[in-house]
Amino acid sequence: MIQEEIREIAGLDDDVRNELEAFLMIESELLDDRRYREWLELLTDEIRYTIPTVEVIEGEHEEQETLLQDDNLFRIKKRIERLETGRAWAEIPPTQTRHLISNVRIRSNGLRNGYDVKSNFLLHFSRREEINNISGERQDLIKQTKNDQWKLDKRYIQIDQNRITANSLSFFI
């Protein structure tokens, strides 16, 4: 089964792979350059952006996932609006982010023009004298719209921290 997965990933149409990787590169550039309005254009109206906590649980202990963030388009827009007020003190001065994206694994997900795109990220960030980073995996659903535009429809972010070392997640991972 794993050998088939390897072949599936390797055998993906070159154009699709190139375009999706370019999508991720450009998206990161927009976020790191704080061009949030342009980044918004890359999201579908049904976007869901979710970050669960990491929970290592022993034995049979059932419970709902605890989340760190669970945004729809409205909430993402409001976050951007808030940054634009010039009074979002936690981001004045703004956090410098650097998204490093790698290990991109693209699979067709059964939808005609949708792809499950997993990638690893290392988000290095700095604000004033603080330097920090978070690594993790993004599980994206990227769709091609009617006019051949790629858009992010879903992002589920598994971060590699049990206890978050950032004072606040005041930026987009």
């Binding site: 649980i57 202990h61 760190l68 976050r79 808030r82 007020t85 009074r87 978050i164 004072n167 606040s168």
Partner: protein, 449 residues
Amino acid sequence: MIHMAITPSVEEELEDSKHSMESGTVPDEIFNSESIFELEKETIFKKSWIFLAHESEIPNPGDYVLRHICDDGLIVVRDENEKVRVLSNSCRHQGMEVCRTEKGNTTHFRCPYHGWTYNNSGDLVGVPLEPQAYGQDGLEKEDWRLIEAPKYDTYKGMIFACLTPDGESLETFLGDFTFYLDSYIDRSPNGMEVRGPQRRIVDGNWKLPTINSMGDSYHVAITHHSVAEIGAFGSGDDMGADNDEGGTFSSNQRRPGYEVIAGAGALTFSPSGTAFSNYPEVLRENARQHFSENTFELFFDGNRRPTNCAFFPNTNLNNTSIVYDDGKVAPYTYLRTIRPLGPDKAEVLSWHVVEKDAPESYKERSYQAYLFSFGSSGIVEQDDVENFRGITDVVKGSLNKDLNYQIGMEQEEFEEWEHPGTARKVPLSEANARHYFAQYFDYLRSHSE
């Protein structure tokens, strides 16, 4: 015994039992000092009741969570007899952690070092190679149970522990504050549950969030200006975003709320009406069954309802609401506790609190509203954290000064307050913060006892 130097201003504060209440000031070094932190650990965290977990986190026998009082690792577990226990997470043999997972379910805790095994009540039940190690008579296992926290108790589902065996009971410690605490964690005959915790590090002094939550109505319009400006505080009763000309505060700041002090805690009955906005009718009915008529009216029907609160030394709750989607406001309750890791660093645990039998759709939107406002990605809490971080950073310096908590020193009590504790009917006050400091310095002074 204090071995490290305390500055003269703190020494004076410690000697004078009424200093900060009468002057309305506190020395700034209490927010970033190694020596004061040591004193806090020896007094406050040794003697006070500390909130650890909510019973809904460990509903079934064998369920546990791993929590701390400062450096003391504690297993909060529901044993096979359904009794909640708080056990020191250290093997009686040679000290190794017997529990290394943040949460789970187990019948037994096994030490990975020499295999000593305890049941989930903390009894030592298994010792490998016992005859070879301890002879034919073996080891007197009753003498080697896991150490239990000297005191632990539960109030309405909130599990607390205390590292000192004597002293007051939990209910005595909380005192009259329990009346108000019920509006956050006991609103329904069918009980409440928490979702969480989120855990994160904040580079700030552990006391700052609690002092803020206890009754800082003054900061809202400025610290959370950006949230008001984007219309997230809701229509009508908004906190108000001042225009660029500066000038006066929003209309809410001019309208008096009730600042209430009771027992170990204090809270604000805010005139902004954010508590229980759009609260589902079915939950209102639950609450109506659950509280006396007067109390129900006080918490739910007044135009001033219990919003932010805190109790000594490090736990806060809030009933509030936010616009979480286009034209949609949802209320939420959160619970937050702050564990100090040092004078300038703390671990914050944050939970959402909700009625167990609330409709699923309500639980979901209330949870989304909470995530959007508080916690790691909360747009409200972010700007508070920036203040906590900044204060802690600068007061580490040597240009020490007194901090001003003087608002409302001349305020009179609101005589018509019919409920527990004392109230002030005022737009602004720092009396609640002074109530925190009164308890705080009492505990620090107790080091010489």
